[in-house]
């Protein structure tokens, strides 16, 4: 009896050990970045030096904020991510709802198929022609153009995600709302949308994170004026005068990555919901 219990406890401890090691693998790289950013500017440091808890300084942050034009790129990043989030709420959510309520199964399957197949598109396939089209129509280097480009990336994923949530809403509830005199729009806003609220939160949060982190489209299309933080740091690192300032680069990177990671940790429940739902059937 006792040996049995002991074996069980040992097994549980071993499993927790495995999971804890993976947890460390997930977060140690970011811890390294943050600790390195907090050291005085200067030469490269060895790992024990980075992890020694002494000699902290915010010097690098001040430099990164000033030299790398951080506030301007931050503003662009936030505008792009917020606009993407808004588009998801205003366009993708009604679209997903409409598709689940389509009468014709053929039409419904065609739309679901189109959405699913565009979801896997390599982004360069879109970004390169967009670069040319935007130059012709005068959208290159504009925030509006970049939001449009992000839409190409968000739309298939977000509609797919919301499809799963809406197909779980019983249609009988909507029918009785219609009988009671609601218009289809009222039914959507007052009955169906509140029932998928967790899904809606998940979609909005994921849309924001994906657009905030996005690099490729911005790199191709943003020029200087619409450049977000991701392109900002890439060009900052490439710039000659900053080439050797590893601490400043670490500070710049930390200022990009830490807010979004902390945000994700706070709302992790919704991200789990969204990612699970986005990858499997509803």
């Amino acid at each position: 009896m006792n040996t049995h219990k002991l074996r069980k406890a040992r097994s549980l401890a071993a499993r927790h050990a495995v999971l804890s090691i993976w947890l460390l693998i997930c977060i140690i790289p970011l811890v390294t970045l943050v600790l390195a950013s907090l050291k005085p500017a200067g030469l490269f440091m060895t790992i024990p030096e980075i992890f020694s808890f002494s000699g902290f300084s915010l010097e690098n942050y001040g430099r990164a904020w000033r030299q790398g034009n951080f506030p301007f790129f931050l503003r662009n990043s936030l505008i792009i991510a917020t606009a993407s989030l808004a588009v998801v709420l205003v366009v993708c959510t009604p679209m997903a709802y409409g598709i689940t309520r389509l009468g014709s199964a053929k039409m419904r399957n065609f739309l679901v198929f189109s959405i699913l197949s565009t979801r896997f598109l390599p982004y360069v396939v879109l970004a390169l022609p967009m670069y040319l089209i935007f130059r012709v129509v005068g959208l290159s280097g504009t925030l509006f153009g970049l939001v449009l480009a992000h839409l190409a990336m968000q739309l298939p994923f977000m509609v797919w995600l919301m499809l799963g949530f809406f197909s779980g809403v019983p249609i009988e509830v909507e029918e009785s709302a219609i009988i009671d005199g609601c218009t289809p729009f009222q039914t959507f806003m007052l009955i169906s949308l509140p029932m998928v609220l967790p899904g809606l939160n998940a979609a909005a949060i994921l849309a924001f994170i994906i657009s905030y982190n996005e690099f490729l489209f911005a790199f191709f299309l943003a020029g200087y004026n619409a450049q977000p933080l991701t392109v900002g740091i890439a060009r900052f690192v490439g710039g000659g005068e900053t080439a050797a300032q590893y601490g400043v680069i670490a500070a710049y990177g930390s200022m990009i990555i830490i807010p979004i990671v902390v945000f994700a940790l706070v709302v992790n429940r919704y991200i789990v919901t969204g990612m699970t739902q986005g990858a499997v059937k509803g």
């Binding site: 499993r15 839409l151 009988e172 191709f220 991701t230 789990v272």
Partner: protein, 296 residues
């Protein structure tokens, strides 16, 4: 789903369709058109129709063929690593005693970090602090174990492997999350009855649990496969072209052809070949899995 449909929902769908046509269909069609022309970036008005010449040229181009090989190994490597690690960790997490506990939720929150971390920053962090040959973390650990430092990203033999591992690190959460959600819903009764029959934990996992989540495994594999195939951000920031162009994946090649050497027609031909590969993959998969009926 109820068979009765009581209103015409096109008003909800049309704005999305219009935007989808503008942002997806138009670029794809134009991209194909560009791929049939000879276009130079700095003289866009001067477009010469050349038919499939750009495509023909590619197959004689050693740079392109090398990039195809690099992309192939990168994609396969990322997929295998992400799916295997995701499955292994999900298997441990979904065991009795851990599944559904506060500890599991705690782990999961942090397991998301690689997925939500900004990829360009991850790439730089990898290059400057993790895989860096003199001061990097990996060589420091290797040094503790008494081994000689390795040139990771500066050696053509290891750069692709390192890039593959780093990108897999980012993709594991996707697999892990879905597999955990799927494994956690398998009823205890099924597992217990197998245990009574004397099946070992490994047998139960491979013979009973894996077949039950095969749908999740195949769909996640497709998502990870296509995601690794199109990767640009992380490769650009971590290794760039790589020593001897050893990490020059197709997305990078398109960028360099299109915007650096400014041969737009050729670059579009490459991106269209990528489109073709993904389209074939997705269609074969969707047909096989009858995914079009999944959302019923």
């Amino acid at each position: 789903m109820a068979s009765q449909r009581f209103f015409r929902p096109w008003g909800f769908i049309l704005p999305g369709i219009v935007l989808g046509i503008i942002t997806l269909v138009v670029p794809i069609v134009m991209g194909f058109r560009y791929s049939l022309h000879r276009i130079r970036l700095y003289r866009l008005s001067d477009q010469v129709f050349v038919g499939f010449q750009n495509y023909m040229r590619l197959f004689d181009d050693p740079l392109f063929m090398m990039s195809v090989r690099v992309t192939f190994w990168f994609t396969i490597g990322c997929t295998i690593l992400a799916v295997v690690f995701g499955l292994a960790i999900a298997a441990v997490m979904s065991t009795r005693g851990i599944r559904g506990t506060g500890a599991a939720r705690f782990y999961m929150a942090f397991y998301l970090v690689p997925f939500v971390a900004t990829q360009v920053v991850v790439g730089m962090l990898g290059r400057l602090y993790i895989w860096e040959p003199e001061y990097g973390m990996i060589n420091w650990i290797i040094g503790l174990l008494g081994m000689d430092p390795v040139g990771w990203l500066i050696s053509a033999d290891t750069a692709l492997m390192v890039t593959t591992i780093t990108n897999s690190w980012r993709l594991v959460p996707l697999a892990l999350l879905v597999f955990y959600a799927a494994l956690a819903t398998i009823p205890d009764a099924i597992v217990e009855s197998a245990e009574v029959d004397g099946a070992s934990a490994l047998t139960i996992f491979f013979r009973i649990k894996l077949p039950m989540i095969r749908f999740h495994i195949s769909f996640v594999t497709l998502i990870i496969l296509t995601s690794a195939f199109r990767e640009f951000d992380l490769v650009y920031a971590l290794s760039g072209l790589g020593p001897g162009r050893s990490t020059n994946v197709l997305s990078m090649l398109v960028y360099h052809m299109g915007l650096s050497t400014a041969n737009i027609g050729l670059a579009n031909a490459i991106s269209f070949i990528m489109f073709g590969i993904v389209a074939v993959l997705a269609v074969v998969y969707i047909k096989a899995a009858k995914l079009s009926e999944m959302r019923e």
